[in-house]
């Protein structure tokens, strides 16, 4: 059985309809029309032990709602969730003992104290035995390069340093599953790469299952082997990252420096996207004509000085999907 099973899960919120105008606001004190907002609609997926899952979607798509249901904060309106055989919102405490959470926008550290004090507290809170605690702490401090700011009060730390400490806390008790809600938000490139390395390393060492929500597609590309995409509460894609790229990103961009000016390519399979005189860029569908064929075709007819192939990045695919809608294409 899979570690996490989510079957036909929906979550509705009752919100009251706000109408424009001051008088209508006053009226709503007495009479309110409620409407149901579906934050999640009939969600199904299952995740195996040790998977690294990227969970993406635009703001307000229902990512956090799902994470909150998995971590036992919210109860689903319909459907059922089991995490390692437990129902998270019923066995909340048991479930919490075996999971770690990081909310990128919040910190769990004590502001005025060095992070080691917080570590000690979590040791007690999660009943971590001395050997595991010592071993994990050393491992994390080394991996996240935290030694130099270990004894400084948290209020003096930078955002990146705090985030590293928060990550360490989430993994301290050897949880089976860790939910990371935007762990790289607002961090610089260097810290981001440290965090990614850490996540991959821990997953490899301890077989921790990870669900990661993010808006940074590089996170996904570097860390995850599986992608779940959600929009308006519905799952739009669930599968491997490679498959995602071939399914939705079957275009590539060919940039060619021609030897002469005023070259016209009449072939309709080559779609001109950028014209800079001698340098021209074409968007080409991989399913129609593959890069080597395309290059051969061009070279046979024209003199060229340089050529470059750009793969479409996950970020661009996702951007297109957000803008056009999934079935809009």
């Amino acid at each position: 059985m899979a570690l996490i099973e989510v079957n036909n899960v929906s979550k509705d919120f009752l919100v009251y309809k706000r109408k424009r105008g001051f008088l209508n606001s006053l009226k709503s004190l007495i009479i309110r029309d409620f409407e149901i907002k579906n934050a999640a609609k009939d969600i199904n997926f299952s995740i195996d032990r040790g998977e690294l899952v990227g969970y993406i979607g635009a703001n307000g798509a229902g990512k956090s709602t799902t994470i909150k249901m998995l971590s036992g904060i919210l109860t689903p309106t319909e459907g059922n969730i089991t995490v390692d055989g437990r129902i998270p919102y019923q066995d909340r405490k048991e479930n919490a003992l075996r999971m770690g959470v990081v909310f990128g926008q919040r910190s769990h550290l004590f502001w005025d104290l060095p992070m080691v004090d917080t570590f000690d507290l979590y040791k007690k809170m999660y009943k971590i035995d001395d050997i595991t605690f010592k071993h994990n702490l050393e491992f994390f401090i080394e991996l996240l390069e935290m030694k130099e700011f270990l004894n400084r009060p948290v209020r003096q730390l930078s955002l990146g340093q705090k985030m590293r400490a928060n990550l360490a806390i989430a993994f301290l008790h050897d949880p089976e599953i860790v939910y990371l809600d935007e762990p790289t938000i607002g961090l610089d490139v260097l810290v981001k790469s440290k965090i990614r390395r850490f996540i991959k390393e821990v997953n490899r060492e301890k077989k921790t299952t990870l669900i990661l929500t993010t808006h940074d597609m590089d996170d996904i590309e570097e860390i995850c082997n599986r992608l779940i995409m959600i929009d308006e509460g519905k799952i739009l894609y669930d599968g491997s990252l490679t498959n995602f790229k071939t399914q939705f990103g079957n275009e590539y961009v060919l940039t060619i420096d021609f030897a002469e000016e005023n070259i016209k390519i009449t072939d309709s399979r080559f779609q001109l996207v950028k014209d800079q005189g001698k340098r021209k860029s074409f968007s080409i569908k991989r399913s129609v004509i593959n890069p080597s064929e395309a290059i051969t075709l061009i070279v046979r007819q024209h003199d060229i000085t340089d050529i470059k192939i750009n793969e479409v990045k996950v970020e661009d695919i996702v951007k297109n999907l957000y803008m056009e809608g999934f079935y809009g294409k």
């Binding site: 959470v101 104290l113 507290l121 809170m125 009060p153």
Partner: protein, 217 residues
């Protein structure tokens, strides 16, 4: 019981944080001492003018008020922050974090938000209490002391219940400031003076509906 060790750890952390800001702690202590002492001085001056309130003299009323402040502060140590801020925490989503811990949420909340700001209140209330007992020449014998301790315990529980009741309403209506204000500050203002000074309706309300009268009367 497994929580006791953890609770001590939390309190240790809070005290450590407090020590970080020694200046702020001392200022807070000083300011609060003055505020509460002024309250007692006001009572003293007022009754000095009127001779007595419903047959109660200056030091007797001050004694009652010391019980009120004392029990309020004892409850406040544990419950003031968790429950006055509960509305805010729910509103901002901070409350979610409470539910991601493998602990009882009530316990986690009161440990995490232990307040270190009540030392001044307790010290002032205790000093005034001892002072009044001395002036009034009350002799406390064995059973009296037991009765007094039980009274203080009961009073603290009533004050604590008021914190919790007005706080938890936030789960339904989110904003709980006004209720807090009403319960903790306005209504409680009545028991500054002996209940017998008020008319029947207020006496009944304060005895049966919001049982603040039991705190010190």
């Amino acid at each position: 019981m497994e929580y006791v060790g953890l609770y001590c750890q939390f309190i240790q952390i809070k005290l450590k944080s407090m020590v970080e800001y020694r200046g702020a702690f001392l200022m807070n202590f000083f300011a609060k001492s003055i505020v509460f002492s002024t309250e007692f001085i006001l009572i003293w001056i007022m009754i000095y003018q009127f001779q007595n309130i419903a047959g109660w003299g200056q030091y007797e009323v001050m004694l009652l008020h010391a019980l009120n402040i004392g029990s309020y502060s004892l409850a406040g140590f544990f419950l003031f922050h968790p429950f006055t801020k509960l509305g805010q925490h729910i509103q901002s989503g901070d409350f979610d974090e409470v539910l991601t811990r493998p602990l009882n949420p009530f316990f986690y909340l009161i440990s995490r938000e232990f307040s270190t700001g009540y030392f001044a209140n307790v010290v002032v209330a205790f000093s005034i209490f001892v002072f009044c007992i001395h002036i009034l020449e009350i002799r406390l014998q064995g059973l009296d002391i037991l009765f007094l301790l039980i009274t203080i315990l009961g009073a603290t529980l009533i004050q604590g219940a008021a914190f919790i009741i007005s706080g938890t309403v936030a789960f339904w209506i989110v904003q709980n400031k006004f209720l807090m204000e009403f319960f903790m500050f306005q209504t409680r203002g009545f028991i500054k003076y002996p209940i017998s000074a008020y008319n029947k309706v207020i006496q009944i309300i304060l005895t049966f509906i919001i049982p603040y009268a039991f705190i010190n009367f």
